[in-house]
Amino acid sequence: MVEIFINALFSLLALEIFAAMIVGTFAGVIVGAMPGLTTTVGLAVLIPFTFGISPPVALGLMAGIYNGSTYGGAIPAILLNIPGTPAAVATTFDGFPMSQSGKSADALKIACYSSALGAMLSAVALMVLAPPLSLLTLAFGPAEYFWVAVLGLVTISVLLGADPLKGLISATLGLFIAGVGMDQMTGRMRFTFGQLELVDGINIVVVLVGLFALPRVFRMAEDAINVGISKDVIRLKGSGSALGGLGYLIPTWLKSGFIGIIIGILPGAGGNIAAFLAYNEAKRVGKDDAIEFGKGNPKGIAAAEAGNSSDNGASLIPTLTLGVPGNSIAALIMGGLLVHGLQPGPSLFRDNPDIVYGFMIQMLLTAMLLFVVGGMVATRVFAQALRIPQTLLAPMIVGLMVLGVYTVNNATFDLYLMLGFGLLGYFMNKRGFPLAPLVLGVILGGLAEQSLRTALRISQGNWSILVTNTISQIIILIIFLALLTPAWRWGRAKLAARRASAAPHSP
């Protein structure tokens, strides 16, 4: 095991690969720092583009963007009270108050070190857990994969979105999109309308780019008209003390890292949920702190940032081993692997060890790079990214997207598809439909259908193949637990409400 990692490390020793990691991390921080751009937008624009470059370079860029943007989101969260990415919402709670009290440089430093440590812990978890799990997945046949896909579908519908109905509609739309193309078992065409372009179904990369990046661009165009160009000058204040002074944050970091890793492995949840849970836990433990939570407690920043960053590597565990992405960022990374013909699963670990183990190391190295970014000079530069006018940014992004998506299949058809998905995403955003269930619906719906029908074909139509083996039974049990969670939560809330209403009557 160690030997494979050492070999992979040596395979990374090339100038362009290290350059890719550095460029990716810095670009990620900028992408995260700009409120219009999120990790998903950054990756969606980049991935089709990496098609022409060698996989280690492409994956280095992706790892950098993933880790960098998770930290970058904290910069506007702390300086302007605007989360740069959804995962940075919890960072605003204590980050902005701390910044207002004149310690913005300290707040940024804490956010940066917390992000770096969280992401490093998560990368280590990925390196330790993914290889043995990938061996285990050889025991997964079509029946087991079917249940894994169902588990993914169940958890996204339960865990995502304020309005579960809208989440379900979004997921169903995804399932429908997964159904387009030739029926793999009979060869019948479904919803292809005689278009050869649709026979193989709709390319997931086209869906991802259209859905995540275009609506953002539309929004930028709208904002540019309404808001105009910001002329704020951003100043950093505070002492910028060294890591030595931050030792008291170690317990918060470790606990938040653990929470983030667990949330990362579970499908459905993402960095924002990890950050909230970690923040709540820190708040629960630190009730008696000198600085109250929400009024600029450094532990609040540390918990939120370590929490959201430790989601990163862990979310790739099910992605790399099972081909089941836990959230939309992992789905994008999977799209990036597929563009290079790298199919997640045991064969990835067996046939391309240098690439997959190298990628895990890249997740670790790019996390370490964040320490460099944490320096005052770098942070000062990144803070200026907030001032790039959106009127310049939006057309640049569209240009990149069109060029990138065209390159995947050399197909003009894909550009129209991308535009269609962009409009779909725009209206879904406007109407409050979450996009992630749709994307996971496309990926998991295809997997579920293919696995179910393959299983039934192997068993010659005998449905018992789905429940007769232990792995399937364990996954079914987990599915039941996942389904029961909302009911349990509802019941507990009801109980609490009854107690609360009963309280005034008791003496």
Partner: protein, 324 residues
């Protein structure tokens, strides 16, 4: 992985499309970029052949500029349709892979026929192989056939999707031995390999390169190779023919163009193919990459397309492999 500058190529393709309608004097062919179209994604076996022959064709066309353009989709039907409709001026060529090019005509919406192409010559051939899992009891094809005869449909055989070269190979074997497997179409060779190793399916069909590799690494047992003779790069694997089953099946890859090429252009392309195959550097490269050089001239290649079409038509009429 050698994937060279698709952006430049895309750009070059756009440029060459723009000038495509210009003039018909071909004496100075080629005087602009030639598009070599591939019906599969970059990195796949057909794409690799295209990228292997590209520099040699460039060299033997007197320093021409050839761009490999991937147009994956519908089992290569998309690319073939595009090439069939292109101007026959020698600037749009197809890396034609048999039997895929012919098989894509059955059951789909493809709007071209095998007569829409000028077949120029072939480069390589790779026979298919039948492989079973290490935990299965089968040591020879006879063992396998005996089991299937006893319990029809009890043996599961994987392979890339319906109508793929692997699936058609199985159909040909079934007809020769008069047996019936339970065919499990899968998304690709990597997944099939996992399913065989995990014991979820009994075996499958794959090109001999991948089959021999699994065999060597103890991930499966190759029971037979569908070549006329033993595969020279894995000589210990038995053929179907020597076990008494007259099955020869494999992928043959060559160069085709839209029908109606000017004679001098056709001549130049055929000369370039022959020069490529005789090029010592090309021979060395194919040996290193476990590719088998296999040359059919233009007439033989066209004949192969015709024969394979008729064979598949015969199978299709009796048992269509795709529901319409």
């Amino acid at each position: 992985m050698k994937i060279s500058k698709p952006y430049l190529m895309a750009g070059a393709a756009v440029l060459s499309l723009g000038i495509m309608s210009a003039g018909s004097a071909q004496a100075d062919y080629p005087d602009r970029t030639i598009s070599l179209m591939v019906g599969f994604s970059a990195g796949g076996p057909v794409d690799i052949t295209a990228r292997q022959v590209q520099p040699f064709l460039e060299k033997h066309l007197g320093g021409a500029n050839i761009a490999v353009i991937n147009r994956p989709g519908a089992s290569s039907a998309l690319m073939q349709q595009e090439v069939a409709n292109a101007d026959p001026d020698g600037y749009t060529l197809a890396l034609a892979s048999m039997p895929g090019m012919v098989a894509a005509l059955f059951g789909g919406d493809a709007e071209y026929s095998i007569d829409d192409f000028d077949y120029l010559g072939t480069f390589t051939s790779e026979p298919h192989s039948l492989i079973v899992g290490m935990d299965t009891p089968y040591e020879t094809l006879d063992d396998l056939v005996a089991q299937v005869r006893e319990e029809p449909g009890s043996v599961t055989m994987g392979g890339a999707g319906l109508g793929s070269a692997a699936h058609l190979a199985l159909l040909v074997f079934e007809r020769e031995a008069d047996i019936r497997f339970n065919f499990i179409p899968g998304p690709g060779a990597a997944e099939m390999r996992n399913q065989i190793m995990g014991g979820h399916i009994d075996g499958g069909l794959t090109a001999v390169g991948g089959g021999a590799q699994m065999h060597e690494e103890g991930q499966g047992r190759v029971l037979g190779v569908m070549g006329a003779e033993r595969f020279e790069l894995a000589p210990d694997l038995p053929t179907f023919v020597e076990q008494g089953y007259d099955v020869e099946w494999g992928a043959v890859r060559g160069l085709a163009a839209p029908a109606g090429l000017p004679d001098d252009v056709r001549e130049k392309l055929i000369d370039a193919i022959e020069a490529t195959l005789a090029d010592p550097e090309f021979i060395e490269m194919t040996e290193r990459d476990r590719q088998m050089i296999y040359y059919l001239n233009a007439e033989e290649f066209a004949q192969l397309a015709r024969t394979q079409y008729d064979n598949l038509q015969g199978i299709w009429d009796e048992e269509p492999w795709i529901e319409e």
